[in-house]
């Protein structure tokens, strides 16, 4: 029997760092830091079975038909355009800056911060595609349309508050959204191929 206090031998902890490193490296490797990114969209609810066909009548000037064919060619309104032109076309269509007869009608609307403004409230961008067009082309089109909205919103936000749309607070964003509501309609598949009536 040893006399007196026995000193507890110290555990050699110099390797804890190594163990921790090992674990760290494991998690480093398995981590997928790349946050998923994508184009967020909202689908329309499914049509009711007994829904009447004629309940939405949209005037022709309020619709911009964007049609993507099986060779990924793009038709906007009545002419063939390239994907680079689409953004400008969409912006002109949505904003209708010169009150053009052939572009969407404007309605007066009271909007906080802005007062009474004219809004192309009824405009719709109708996106139609062929079953054989590729997904990348479709995403390009969606991307350009969203870009058109984002640019218009940023322009307006810069003009009013000298900030980008995303830096505004919730209420200011809502006001801008009221002026430029995003209306991209993805047509029912029955319309494909035949174009619109």
């Amino acid at each position: 029997m040893a006399k007196g206090k026995r000193s507890v031998p110290e555990i050699n902890s110099s390797s804890t760092a190594d163990i921790a490193f090992l674990l760290l490296i494991f998690f480093l490797i398995t981590t997928s830091m790349d946050t998923d990114r994508g184009l967020a969209r909202r689908l329309p609810p499914p049509p009711e079975k007994d829904q009447k066909q004629d309940d939405v009548i949209v005037k022709e000037r309020n619709v911009l038909v964007v049609y993507l064919n099986f060779q990924d060619q793009l038709m906007c309104g009545k002419d063939y355009i390239s994907i680079k032109q689409l953004r400008q076309r969409a912006k002109d269509f949505i904003a209708n800056p010169y009150n053009d007869e052939s572009l969407p009608e404007k309605y007066n609307k009271d909007i906080p911060f802005f007062g009474n403004v004219q809004v192309t409230e009824k405009h719709v961008i109708s996106l139609q595609n062929d079953r054989n067009s590729t997904y990348q082309a479709y995403i390009d089109v969606q991307n350009e349309l969203v870009a058109a909205y984002n640019e218009l919103r940023d322009e307006l936000a810069q003009e009013k508050w000298q900030k980008n749309y995303l830096d505004l607070d919730e209420e200011q964003q809502k006001a801008i959204r009221d002026i430029y509501p995003q209306k991209i309609s993805e047509a029912e598949p029955k319309n494909y191929g035949g174009g619109k009536k």
Binding site: A17, F21, T30, D36, G38, A40, P44, N129, Y135, A147
Partner: protein, 154 residues
Amino acid sequence: MGKFNKTGKRGMPALNTSSLPDLIFTLLFFFMIVTTMREVTLKVEFKVPTGTELEKLEKKSLVTFIYVGKPTAEFRKKLGSESRIQLNDSYAEISQIQDYITQERSSMKEEDQPFMTVSLKIDKETKMGVVTDIKQALRQAYALKINYSAQPRQ
């Protein structure tokens, strides 16, 4: 001026490393928390399209994934290289999407269910026909919030 010169060898003082494990553990915990391990094995190959106006997909727990692409090499012999849909761990048909969504939704917390998002990870070469069918199926299943997964373009 030898005032500052100390005579004799200067020993390098040992660096106290006793807090090193703590530092490493801190890092470890950080990565443990942000890690999301992929819970499905992919049976399809896909390269998502590129875009510029992308938004971040938030709240991973609310997201359901649908993968579309060519079968991976080991299955290609059996299935050909036609675009296939993958739900969870297996190949699926369009008709199964609705059940899958319902099932995924019921496994969520009730207050989260309205915020369910479906992320479509679709190969960029896929024909739109498949995508349209999936979209219709999602509409029928009332999974209306969708996200076309894409990569930022330089």
